[in-house]
Amino acid sequence: MSDLLANPAVQGGVAPFVAGLLVAVLLGRFRLGGLAVAAAFATAVYFIAGFNFSPLNATRKIILLGFAAPIAGIVVDFAFRPTRLGSIILAIAAAAAAAWVFWPVLSQKELARALLPGATALLAAAWVVGYSEQRLAGDSVRTAASGLALGAGTAVAAIFGAALTYGLYGAAIAAGSGAFLLVQMITGKRSYAGATFTLSATVVTIFIASAAMILAQLPWYSVAVLALVPVAAGLPLPAGAALWLQAVLSSFYGLVVAGIACALAWHAGG
């Protein structure tokens, strides 16, 4: 049993998917099904790194943010009405969080070498969080498809960038998003996603992608392409299409863009 639980495919895929599926089913009726992705991520963290936060390095800061994001999402969903201003505030908060995570690393580099990855990390965080909250959070299918593609793309790109642990975290987000999406596809009913789901999925994935860029070898332009996944997942769908078809098409659009990011990561190594 311990060998099974030590298998990376279980730690980053199967176990997070099961946890996400349980949460999506059990909490969906309380408008908290979006916590599926947080449950998936927490499951992966438990198996991969454990809940140890000392010393507080960049990866552990991202894990902390991954736990804070669903809490912030619940507050946003239940205490505020979604507005453009709210999305802008969340985008700025994401950029500030990126600075908190990556500044100690970037400050050790020369300015010329720190500028591009630093700017990419801040802009990608602000863009992905702000855009997803503004355009996708109200559509539980598109935002779940975006989470699925963003998670899968981050997973593969991070592995190509020599960061397998980050790859597993990305896979966990994809698994949780997939579970949330699968429940909707099977029941044919939309769940409530909101900021609870959207923040949980976007914060972890884009920060993991940026960490793979700054701490490993993922090229900056792969991160930039990954940041376009939410845009792809929001592309127009056939009018009146069944929910399952919307889910498949939206995921496909996102995965195509994620695939481009992965291809760029593969070729960046030489």
Partner: protein, 198 residues
């Protein structure tokens, strides 16, 4: 007569007293390397080393005291696999990533220790602390060989010491938990060091 004898004896002991004072040495980066080994998939032993090291050693053979401070730039790690070939990245690139040494965030690892046991004039055991990935834990080193003398490359103008020391630690104690099992948790150290007297 007895005063002259005493003065003569005192004068004769002066060089010995000078030799017995604590001496400071600077690590020779060209002949000093920290090596390590892990077991891969419970089969072969994979060895690697760091290509750069700096540090200081103090030694007082008479008082049986000594200390060592070493600093290693983690980016210099190599296991001989620098070519990615058909893979996305080489093993050395992977070892530099956050999965293992996280060199961008923790560019240096260090070791500080004191010689606690001597075998004759030579240090035998070093009790110290290894700092890796921002975590500091005790790691003891056993000195396998140690020798000092004039450096023959300078016709004896320089005095130097050198030897080997071994130790081990669990990488998970330092937060390096990636695939513990397939790659052994225990890391064996083998330190090769030479140092010139300041």
């Amino acid at each position: 007569m007895s005063f002259k004898l005493a003065a003569g004896l005192f004068a004769a002991t002066l060089p010995l007293a000078a030799a017995a004072a604590p001496e400071s040495f600077t690590v020779d980066p060209y002949h000093s390397f920290p090596y390590f080994e892990v077991v891969h998939l419970n089969t072969s032993v994979i060895r690697g080393h760091f290509e750069k090291i700096s540090g200081k050693i103090t030694l007082d053979s008479t008082a049986k005291t000594g200390s060592i401070e070493l600093s290693v730039p983690t980016v210099t790690i190599t296991t001989g696999d620098n070519d990615k070939g058909s893979r996305p990245r080489s093993r050395d690139e992977h070892l530099r990533s956050p999965d293992f040494f996280n060199v961008a965030e923790f560019p240096t690892m260090s070791y500080k220790g004191k010689a606690t046991k001597f075998n004759g004039d030579h240090p035998a055991t070093i009790e110290g602390e290894l700092t890796l990935l921002g975590v500091t834990k005790p790691v003891a080193l056993t000195v396998e060989r140690w020798n000092c003398g004039p450096d023959p490359r300078t016709q004896g103008k320089r005095y130097f010491c050198g030897g080997n020391a071994t130790g081990s630690f669990k990488r998970s104690d330092f937060g390096m938990k990636f695939i513990v099992g397939p790659v052994s948790d225990e890391v064996k150290l083998w330190l090769s060091v030479e140092a010139f007297r300041d």
